[in-house]
Symmetry: C2
Subunit: 224 residues, 2 copies
Amino acid sequence: MKNSAVVILSGGIDSCVLAFKAVGKGIEVYPLTFVYGQKHSKEIDSAKKICEELKLDPKIIDISSIKELLKGSALTDATVKIPEVAAEVENYETLKTTVVPNRNAIFLSIAVGYSESMGVNKVLYGAHHSDRGVYPDCRVEFVEAFESAERIANDNENLAIEAPFVNMDKSQIIKLGDKLGVPFADTWSCYVGTDIHCGTCSSCRERKRAFLEANVIDPTEYLK
Amino acid sequence: MKNSAVVILSGGIDSCVLAFKAVGKGIEVYPLTFVYGQKHSKEIDSAKKICEELKLDPKIIDISSIKELLKGSALTDATVKIPEVAAEVENYETLKTTVVPNRNAIFLSIAVGYSESMGVNKVLYGAHHSDRGVYPDCRVEFVEAFESAERIANDNENLAIEAPFVNMDKSQIIKLGDKLGVPFADTWSCYVGTDIHCGTCSSCRERKRAFLEANVIDPTEYLK
């Protein structure tokens, strides 16, 4: 069997470290990036840069028509504000507005279709522990249940859906990325999508905090 | 809680009968139809006609970019022939070419995102027993496993994914549709997509056979 995997590559830190880790282990990586109606395309640009760095052929799939269905998320719905001030970022309910309903299951199901079509048998996905509070589809229980369902759906007992960071937090992922030589400046976290990282949205704050905690130099330019 | 459901409406017999059944039971139906790179748009036209009949607002979502990922299916890949002659239609391996890798899981995951976004808590889907041999994602085991995974993904114990025809065969669905007054002439089964049903592809043959078995008059015009 080929040692290969579809890697869902958003252009954020987690999925970029994951792609570097997989390539480093000699896995033939099929990157997969989704345009799903995000308010900006900064992370898509980052995914392309990372593919260039790893000499992978980027595969950008536009499913932004689903935006019409998935209302209410700060990441896709123009009428919902991205949490930016500290009080919002620390508030669980406000943070929940950044959930895109069922996003990861949608991405994974398409990734599984791709892996089945290519005979790859593996999908890698960068869900990690810090996200599990707010994003239920970043839990290990979800990954396992989804893998079981997809094995049945495709009559394929060898199909694996793996989230190797699911028990790590973001600072541990940054430490690993640092060892692997990930060009962090080429990755994107900011939900707002200003020219450079805003530095104040919930995702930028998490990025800053994680670099500090990892004791790794943060090469990111922030607006604030 | 609202008595409502997202109904995946392909425009084929099964999903159209399902929509009629749901509306007949007083359920507020949110129909959802996918353009996913099919070789023709005949079934989309049928889905629209059925929505008109039921006074539902059609929701057509174009995710045909995924076609690039899901190669090898006779339904989407121009290089793969649709099984048409009897020997092909009766051959399990040839019939398997009509599988679109992971199609139903992809549709269901988007439908779940929609239902979560609308606070609907229910997705209805027309998988039925006759399909289970060739299409593993039409099995009751898949529906149950997928529901479990999606409940975790959305932290929603009330989410239901139901395939009420999963233990019925196509002739039983036709009998039910006949009772419900489904305008079968407005539904579409043919994989080939000629002006009228070709009458020879595997799906047309199954349609003919099921009407005969149900002892219901088949209003379909066939080429052969």
